[in-house]
Symmetry: C2
Subunit: 189 residues, 2 copies
Amino acid sequence: MQELYNKILTESVVLNPDTLKVDSFLNHQIDPAFILKIGGEIADRFIKDSLTKILTVESSGIAVALAAGLSLGIPVVFAKKKRPDANIESVYSSNIFSFARQEETRITVDKSYLGPQDTVLIVDDFLAHGEALQGLVAIVRQAGAKLAGAGIVIEKTFQQGGTKLRSEGIRIESLASIESMEPGVIRFS
Amino acid sequence: MQELYNKILTESVVLNPDTLKVDSFLNHQIDPAFILKIGGEIADRFIKDSLTKILTVESSGIAVALAAGLSLGIPVVFAKKKRPDANIESVYSSNIFSFARQEETRITVDKSYLGPQDTVLIVDDFLAHGEALQGLVAIVRQAGAKLAGAGIVIEKTFQQGGTKLRSEGIRIESLASIESMEPGVIRFS
């Protein structure tokens, strides 16, 4: 998706060898019309999958997931982080480790919003080490739902999340795949 | 907005005298087409204000803010909670107390995304004690931006946030105002 490549090349900042900052259009400020296109592109790649739900995790995945949900006309569920009032019996849950924050977080989804009748598309902004995506996959499995795959805005293929999850048979569609990055030089796969 | 009233009456749960759970359409699961209408309604109320930015705070405000941003064709900025990598000199910040979680949280906005040239609409899902809204107002003022007002999905008028902020001259437009609630009985203003 050329417009996404252009945004990454002109607006992103390589903070360190592992971290790409895309705050100007994805993680802090959002360009609504652009996000709508991104969501539409993800939706198009799964248009034949008879999806019933989109699943993401707060916070940065919400905008893209909503855009995909608008395109597909299906509900969006966002997993909550560290929900203090979660009744353990009423939720699916998973622990994910954030490399960026160096901390483990529990994510939960209320059982009311996912079940065996669902076919789920997971949507997220980034795929790097794959911790968040693995946590969301675990929740889809706990729900007994069918997993159609995952739609990702930016995958960093030099980290191993995508490789690992694809080897488990999970379909992953990434709109931009970065194979290497250093300040001023970003290479797409 | 009748559709919003209907959703609140049929789908919300009064968890306790202070807390209304609207997880099925706003805070955990999102109905994209409905959220688009909600955002459009908020946008309509500020259509004459020459807005340049929408400001919200992660996580539950993001979807509604994006919907309003789509309608108005302007960028959405979401304040970050407890941002670990925030360089204090590069951000506006404010501390907000969450009554629901009984904890104080620091919210930040990178200075790149708000400035004196901006006219800002604050958007959020709920207005109760007004702590989040006050924190966002403080950030708009730190930026030297013009504040057009705040668009809120659900205001609980029996809590004092709206009264306090309106007395300071802030324009607040709430799509649904709840004057009292108990299990099974919700009264709108």
